[in-house]
């Protein structure tokens, strides 16, 4: 049984059919990329699966369990984590606190204990802080361990989001354009990081426009065009599919 199964997912905004009857499944442990020209509905698809938006119709199953009706915050418990195309960093906190928030569900969040500073809370927090520092180093942000989130550059913040997502100990990680706005060198670094994450056993679902990166790291690819599924399959097959080439590059290629 696939880790993630999407059936007939559709979403309309006003008169715009952003996503139409998209179905696919993702096996555990692979790197699965969703690509498509700008406006094809890739980010919307992500938002539907991670419940930032409500679909108009269709089903989403995680490990066989129906999650279509869930609230966004409930998915984290199921082992789903994601990053955002438009950075969603808490600029009012430090970098390490941002990562610590990722580990939110693993701590005792009791209000009274918090007010009274129970020692058990303190200890757990200290452990989480260490773990967060480890994660920051893992994603290459060792230099920013003491930094305020608001003082960090764009590239670092994108990595910070990944660290935060990893702090949630996900089974499946959704990366929404992790290389957006990066130059080739930075993209190669992110490429390496994503590979590292995938190798550690986390299923990665990726939306990305940088074709080189996509072809490099993906096991399977889903191609969307105008909100509809164009094709889906193993990476090497998709790259040779004439319909895909036509959609991206125009017929003559």
């Amino acid at each position: 049984m696939a880790l993630l199964e999407v059936s007939d997912l559709s979403k309309t905004f006003g008169g715009v059919l952003a996503v139409q009857n998209v179905s696919f499944s993702v096996e555990a442990g692979i790197v699965y990329s969703v690509i498509g020209p700008n406006g094809a509905g890739t980010t919307t698809l992500f938002n539907l699966i991670t419940r930032a938006y409500k679909p108009n119709s269709g089903e989403i199953r995680l490990d066989g369990e129906l999650v279509t009706g869930r609230e966004p915050h409930q998915l984290a418990r199921k082992g789903v984590a994601r990053t955002f195309q438009n950075l969603q960093i808490c600029m009012n906190m430090t970098a390490i606190e941002n990562v610590m928030v990722g580990g939110h569900l693993f701590l005792d969040r009791n209000l009274i204990k918090g007010l009274l500073r129970f020692p058990s809370l303190r200890r757990a927090d200290a452990i989480l802080r260490e773990k967060a520092a480890e994660l920051m180093t893992y994603v290459g942000l060792a230099a920013y361990l003491g930094a305020e989130a608001g003082a960090m550059p764009y590239g670092a913040l994108k990595r910070l989001e990944i660290a935060r997502a990893l702090a949630a100990r996900p089974r499946i990680l959704f990366l929404d354009e992790p290389a957006a706005g990066f130059n080739p060198m930075e993209t190669a670094e992110i490429d390496g990081l994503v590979r590292k994450i995938a190798d550690s056993g986390i299923t990665v679902v990726l939306v990305e426009h940088d074709m080189k990166m996509v072809m490099n790291i993906s096991d399977r690819i889903l191609v969307l065009n105008y909100g509809k599924k164009l094709t889906e399959g193993a990476a090497r097959d998709v790259r040779r599919d004439p319909a895909v080439i036509a959609a991206y590059l125009g017929k003559a290629a």
Binding site: C90, N92, E97, V101, G102, H104, L107, N110, G114, R164
Partner: protein, 309 residues
């Protein structure tokens, strides 16, 4: 965490030293009023500064506490502690009931809803004259803990100082705790906090209730302290004063709340009605501080001198 302890030591030292410096009961009274406001504002700041929400009707909860104590001890001869608990429970329940629908709103709509809540509460208090004495208010017996009566500004001072110290400590704890971090994350990015599992609706309700709880308890104590309550403790101007103390002292700053309360209580007659020049001065101060110190006093100073919160 020594930074936190340092601040607390300073506060405790100030609170201990103050009685030696204050010349007479008039100054003790002002100090007491500062402490009362500071405690309410600490609770309100958790909601506004840390969680990034808004409440333009918080005086309503203060009024609920004040009148619960006044009515239950006067008309029904309840012991003050019981009345205080009932007031706090009532305020908390009201907050818990009204928060879920209200916090689905955003921005100005949320502000409007909280404003409406405060006004409705104050209107009810003003109109149920049979119980509350109407616009003229009613008198309140002295506070007593199990037979021992608190009398005089000095005795009250120690009670308020103790509560203030505890509140500052508790708030700082909360902010550094998992709960507090989730709250700040909520302020920073609701979307991001949802994605890591924060049930933002529940957190908003919880912090709203907590801040209502703070306000109600202080309302009850104030009623006994002053010996008299009037409906304007629950009215819009008082709500605005409280929000102003939060903003001027510094949102998302625990000591900012204390400083804000101290400063704005020291302005003469800032508690009940504004009269002529006081009004103009108060208004001018509001405008100038928000224009030149948009982050509030304490965070701006902290940024200048690099470090302490």
């Amino acid at each position: 965490m020594t930074r936190t302890h340092y601040g607390l030591f300073v506060l405790a030292a100030v609170l201990l030293a103050l009685p030696l410096l204050l010349p007479n009961t008039y100054y003790f009274d002002i100090a007491n009023r500062m402490a009362i406001n500071a405690i309410v504002v600490l609770g309100l700041n958790l909601l506004i500064g840390f969680a990034g929400q808004i409440s333009l009707g918080h005086a309503g909860f203060f009024g609920i506490g004040a009148y619960a104590s006044a009515v239950l001890t006067t008309h029904f001869s309840w012991p003050p502690i019981a009345a205080l608990c009932v007031g706090a429970a009532g305020a908390s329940l009201l907050a818990a009931a009204i928060a879920p629908p209200i916090f689905r709103l955003r921005g100005h709509y949320l502000a409007m809803a909280t404003l409406g809540l405060g006004i409705v509460i104050s209107i009810v208090l003003k109109n149920e004259a049979g119980y509350t004495g109407g616009p003229d208010g009613m008198s309140v017996p002295a506070m007593s803990f199990f037979g021992w009566e608190i009398f005089g500004e000095r005795q009250w001072y120690w009670l308020f100082a103790g509560i203030l110290l505890f509140s500052v400590w508790a708030c700082q704890n909360l902010i550094d705790s998992p709960f507090g971090r989730a709250l700040r994350a909520l302020h920073g990015s609701e979307v991001a906090s949802q994605v890591v599992g924060v049930d933002i609706a529940r957190y908003k309700v919880t912090i709203f209730v907590l801040s209502a709880f703070f306000a109600s308890i202080m309302g009850s104590l104030t009623a006994h302290y002053v010996g008299f309550v009037t409906p304007d403790t629950a009215e819009f101007p008082h709500s605005i004063e409280l929000v102003t103390m939060v903003v001027i002292g510094g949102m998302a700053s625990v000591y900012g709340s204390v400083i804000g309360a101290v400063l704005l209580t020291a302005l003469p007659q800032a508690l009940t009605t504004f009269e002529g020049w006081e009004t103009v001065a108060f208004g001018a101060i509001l405008m100038l501080s928000m224009i030149f110190l948009p982050k509030g006093l304490v965070p701006t100073l902290a940024a200048k001198f690099g470090g302490r919160r």
